[in-house]
Amino acid sequence: MPSLGADMDEGTLVSWLVAVGDRVTRGDIVAVVQTEKSDIEVEVFETGQVAELLVEPGTTVEVGTPLARIDSGSTATTSRGPEPTPGSQSEARPVPRPVPAASPARRHAGRVLSPLVRRDARRLGIDLGRVRPAPDGTIHRDDIAAAVPAARPTRRRVSPYARRLAMEGSIDVSTLSGTGPSGAVVARDVPGAAPAAAKRTVDPMRTAIARTMERSNREIPHYYLSHTVDMAATVEALAAHNDGRSPRDRVLLAALELRAVALAARKVDEMNGSWVDGTFVPGDGVHVATIVALRGGGLLAPVIRDADRLDADETMRSLGDVVERARRGALRSSELSGATITVTNLGEDGVEAIFGVIHPPQVAIVGFGGLVERPVVAQGRIVAHPTLTVTLAADHRATDGRIGGRFLARVAALLRSPERLL
């Protein structure tokens, strides 16, 4: 059971996406795990053949408990998932999927398997040995699709909220029929799930957030800085950038804010990393967590890795992607760990400035309020311009205010310079 954040103690295995005998490659998604916060797709960190599944779906186990045994060829190793090592998460990065080695050919002697077929089979958890090939020994994608019902049901789409309601009511979600998108089981499908039930229940996500925030305020001596930025040039440049683009290709201000933080964190790298055992550990790249508020309450902080290397359009695509998947409960394990700095934005709720609480073991969180028209002095005249207040909450154990000020000034300068962001 991998640790998917500093605040995670245990997780529940929802389903296996592989079966014994399947060949897996480092980075493949092999299981779905439900944490206190959300459903997460778990990636494997070994390459080899699944020798044994050690945990049954529906079982809750502690972080570090072996989930499966993977035979990597010479020696059998037990996959515990990555050890929680804040600040040095390079090993948690999914790697490009190499073409599986010769072993599938050995396992399925005499059969012709295209990489697509192997991928489909792996994704659907089909044991290729049980698929009936065409007379010439070939297995086609259609054969894989046909083998699905016989082999195992595909993963049920269940919203995290519905799953929680079902769990609280001791209802087996597999017995429910879904009325949500693509037949997903949503809250209204769970019998007796009166929205905002009057009974007091413990909300696991609330508990997880509470624990993290308690730890942060107990351990981290925060200091706070704020800067108000004239955004006239950037707002205008962004409108020009989006003009004539289809909605899919438009960039939101939130993406430029995230990019400004990533670029500043690369430059002032004392803000980018973790505080571990009394010392600052610099990040192995600029990996920016972004706070996503979930419908119905709660937060997730998916990570955009190497955010400083993405241009504005790429940043927007990454942001849109993780926000959408966070809300759908489809984030991957590697996307919830390894952040080196966090961005939070409450501007759309009419907030002018937000002073964040640092997510341990990180050392900084940058907060953005909304655009507010304020009088500013431009070329000696007082004019009304859209302005933005950006704040920094930083760990005083790791840095002093002067470094924080330098970092925040850099963020502000970038926000004023659309040509460096777009």
Partner: protein, 81 residues
């Protein structure tokens, strides 16, 4: 596109963004963002889905004309001819 068709389209699109959405339960004169707890990313997704389904261009400058259910229905009926 008729009023009913526009409303049905919006129901489908908003249901994909905020699962469980029931248009009968929201105040059509209030901001969709408030009624359905949508943020700017959701509103952009709404434009994207409406663009995909109708082929309408939906420039960013028109976004303010789609802020309430009533406004959005009126806009779609008008623009789709």
């Amino acid at each position: 596109m008729t009023n009913d068709e526009a409303r049905q389209l919006l129901g489908e699109v908003l249901g994909r963004i905020a699962p469980g959405t029931d248009l009968d339960e929201i105040d059509p004169a209030e901001l969709l963002s408030d009624e359905l707890d949508l943020d700017s990313m959701d509103l952009l997704s709404m434009l994207e889905l409406l663009h995909e389904r109708t082929g309408l261009e939906l420039p960013e400058t028109d976004a303010p004309k789609l802020r309430t259910l009533d406004d959005a229905v009126e806009y779609l009926v008008l623009r789709s001819g």
